[in-house]
């Protein structure tokens, strides 16, 4: 069921996920389209998330945005410094922010990183995690993981897991999507693009997500005038994904854009996406056990030991 409307305020709105936004020329959403988008969100009862560019918006835009309950997704590089206070999600595109940016303990952060940078700098995360409400790490080149990368990623997750365990012992409750989400979730909680959320672009058209707009502007799913028209919309639902519906890596992004890029189908994840998600799942299982050594912790939660990293390999048992 549709719950969220993401509105891109500009062609250069920050990427907050796996894709890159190569657009450099500002292309502000026309005010009438912004208002029509807000109206669409209101009548469809959708929570609106605004994605900001790096420059300050004109006053009438700010006024329109404040006319509705919403959340703000803002790049750490945004020139409108007042937004840093107001943002609900702040996005880092490199690791310098992790060390030097001013942080707020009540905010959620996104760190977009390549696997190479993550493998090199993951030790910087410990301190950062202790200062913020939540950190989502998005690896921007998951599709390039190979067997060596999986091994390294497993070791890194193990180290991060030890760090988080210590923080729990110290009375903190850090949230790192890669390790703590699976512990907290009882069912799949994925990106939801095309199912629980859709994106409105500055051209007045709806897209499955920001990445679909960047990749091909013709690949839209309706517009603010005529409404939504998602072809084969069932394929964005868990039930219609043969692999994901047999999976319990509940924290997986299940990125439909990456799915389409790698397997040509929005409902079918790549081997790499599955293995990475299962390494996280298994490390979450270890973390849960480790925390429980120190006392009672989420007694209802159970993460089973499994002998595979890609549910596809178990398809004959489904």
């Amino acid at each position: 069921m549709l719950q969220y409307l993401i509105i891109l305020l500009d062609d250069t709105s920050t990427s907050y996920c796996h894709y890159e936004n190569p657009k450099k020329d500002a292309g502000l959403i026309p005010l009438n389209i912004l208002k029509a988008g807000i109206r669409f969100g209101m009548v469809e009862n959708l929570m609106i998330q605004f994605v900001y560019p790096d420059y300050e918006l004109p006053g009438e835009y700010k006024e329109a945005i404040e006319s509705i309950d919403h959340s703000k997704i803002v790049s750490s590089l945004c020139n409108d410094k007042s937004l840093a206070d107001e943002a609900d999600v702040i996005v880092f595109h490199d690791w310098s922010g992790i060390s030097y940016a001013m942080t707020f303990p009540d905010k959620s952060y996104v760190l977009r990183t390549t696997k190479a940078k993550l493998f090199e700098r993951y030790l910087f995360l410990k301190e950062f995690l202790s200062k913020v409400a939540r950190l989502n790490i998005v690896i921007t080149d998951i599709e390039t993981f190979d067997d060596g990368d999986y091994e390294q990623y497993k070791l890194i997750l193990h180290t991060l897991s030890e760090n988080i365990e210590k923080m729990y012992v110290d009375g903190l409750a850090p949230q790192l999507n890669l390790l703590t989400d699976r512990i907290m979730l009882k069912e799949m909680n994925n990106c939801g693009a095309g199912d629980t959320n859709i994106t409105l672009a500055p051209n007045g058209k709806f897209y499955i997500c920001h990445a679909f707009y960047i990749e091909n502007e013709d690949d839209c799913i309706g517009d603010v005038k005529r409404g939504l028209d998602i072809k084969n919309k069932q394929l964005y639902k868990l039930k219609y994904s043969p692999i994901c519906s047999h999976c319990d890596a509940y924290q997986c992004k299940r990125c439909v854009w990456l799915n389409r890029k790698t397997t040509l189908e929005v409902n079918t994840p790549s081997h790499e996406q599955c293995v990475v998600a299962h390494l996280e799942r298994n490390s979450s299982c270890e973390l849960l056990k480790s925390i429980r050594k120190h006392g009672k912790f989420l007694p209802e939660t159970e993460i089973q030991e499994i002998d595979y990293l890609d549910p596809f390999d178990k398809r004959k048992e489904w």
Binding site: N232, P242, T262, T263, L264, E265, N267, E272
Partner: protein, 406 residues
């Protein structure tokens, strides 16, 4: 072994469980059949020996990923026998390589052809047949009577029917392949000729008729009624004349027209993805139907090429496809679902988005008509066997037939 009271259609070599690898050796054909799904046929795209060799080397190198016990090396076009010299070279190389590598497919392989039959009697084709006789399956496509055949199967250049060019080769073919079957395709204009065509093919000595309606959305109002009448009339002829003892027609099957369990009978119908096809440019496809020349509205669905190999991620959707994930609720709940076929390539081509997960239902009313006629056929035949005292024996001896996969 005791002869069965009713001849059944062949389930294929190794029960259709062998790996099927198709070389699209040419996109050219002498004919321009009106129902042909190959919309992009042309004279230019002919496979070179270099591409064929690279494809073979790559495929045989992947022995660990291709564990099927046996292999069918399939050659299609266009018309494959237009490239008989290349095919001969490919087959020689395959035999040598499979032997030298001690590949598990050596001595468990077949070369398979579906031909229009026009140059079947040529010196080169006949020499090839002599050389590979024990490892060959050849099907000649003949659609039935001259009128029915020539309705669709016409020459590309002259527009004239090809029946006479084909029928002259049937005796030679049946002499070499006495159990050879023919594939008959039914489109809307063919419906009135079904009965006479099947009986005509029987009269030519062809005992195995694999017949199906096209998957494309070509059906007109009333086609289902006419189709049902033809199949019932054909059923009368087959039963009254006793053809069922020695001749098979795939329209009639005891296994069709029943509900399917959503959990236990959730398999995909089509074998795309478990098959592999390679074209003249060395591009790999999950089946020939995903090559550009087979598609009306969609881009080719490639899964790799002879230089870079197969991208396994692109095969994943095919290998996890099941009935439920691609069917409408109406199809899942259908009380006569068994035997209702689909072609993954046509599903993709007809889908509203670029997906193989939307099942085309263009044949729905034709399947329903087939099921009604099929019920009539079996009720009539069972009664006849009962009256002749053969029913009990038939039931005792009949073999379990697994669901066919295309």
């Amino acid at each position: 072994m005791e002869k069965e009271a009713i001849k059944k259609n062949d389930t294929g070599w190794k029960n259709g469980m062998a790996k099927n690898i198709t070389f699209i050796v040419t996109k050219d054909c002498q004919l321009a059949c009106k129902y042909c799904y190959l919309v992009g046929k042309n004279e230019k795209e002919r496979m070179s020996w270099e591409v064929a060799k690279m494809a073979i080397d790559y495929i045989l190198d992947q022995e660990d990923d291709m564990q099927e016990e046996s292999v069918v090396w399939d050659f299609i076009g266009g018309e494959p026998f237009l490239e008989i010299e290349l095919i001969d070279k490919i087959c020689d190389y395959l035999k040598i390589e499979m032997f030298q590598r001690n590949h598990h497919w050596f001595n468990s392989y077949r070369f398979s052809f579906s031909t229009n039959g026009i140059n079947y009697d040529s010196e080169k084709v006949q020499e090839f047949i002599r050389k590979n006789r024990d490892h060959l399956s050849i099907g000649i496509t003949i659609d039935g009577t001259e009128v029915k055949h020539d309705l669709n199967r016409i020459y590309k250049v002259t527009g004239k029917g090809s029946y006479k060019s084909v029928v002259r080769n049937i005796p030679l073919w049946l002499e070499q392949f006495p159990y050879g079957g023919t594939k008959v395709t039914i489109s809307s204009p063919d419906i009135p000729y079904i009965k006479e065509s099947v009986l005509h093919l029987y009269s030519l000595g062809i005992k195995e008729i694999n017949i199906n309606v096209v998957f494309e959305n070509v059906w007109k109002e009333g086609d289902d009624k006419l189709f049902e009448e033809q199949l019932m009339s054909l059923a009368d002829a087959i039963i009254d004349e006793g053809y069922y003892k020695d001749y098979a027609c795939s329209f009639y099957s005891e296994n069709i027209g029943k509900p399917l369990d959503p959990i236990l009978e959730n398999t995909n119908w089509c074998g795309a993805g478990r098959m592999l096809a390679v074209d003249a440019n060395g591009i790999f496809y999950p089946c020939t139907r995903f090559a550009q020349y087979s598609l009306r509205d969609k881009k080719a669905w490639t899964i790799g090429n002879v230089n870079d190999g197969i991208d396994k991620n692109r095969l994943r959707p095919f290998l996890v496809l099941d009935r439920l994930s691609q069917s409408k609720q109406e199809c899942i709940d259908c009380e006569i679902a068994s035997g209702c076929a689909w072609c993954q390539g046509e599903n993709y081509d007809a889908a509203e988005s670029n997906t193989i997960f939307q099942r085309s239902t263009a044949i729905c009313k034709m399947h329903k008509a087939r099921v009604r006629a099929n019920n009539y056929y079996w009720n009539k035949l069972y009664r006849k066997l009962e009256l002749e005292g053969q029913r009990e024996e038939y039931e005792k001896n009949k073999k379990e037939v697994k669901q066919e996969i295309c």
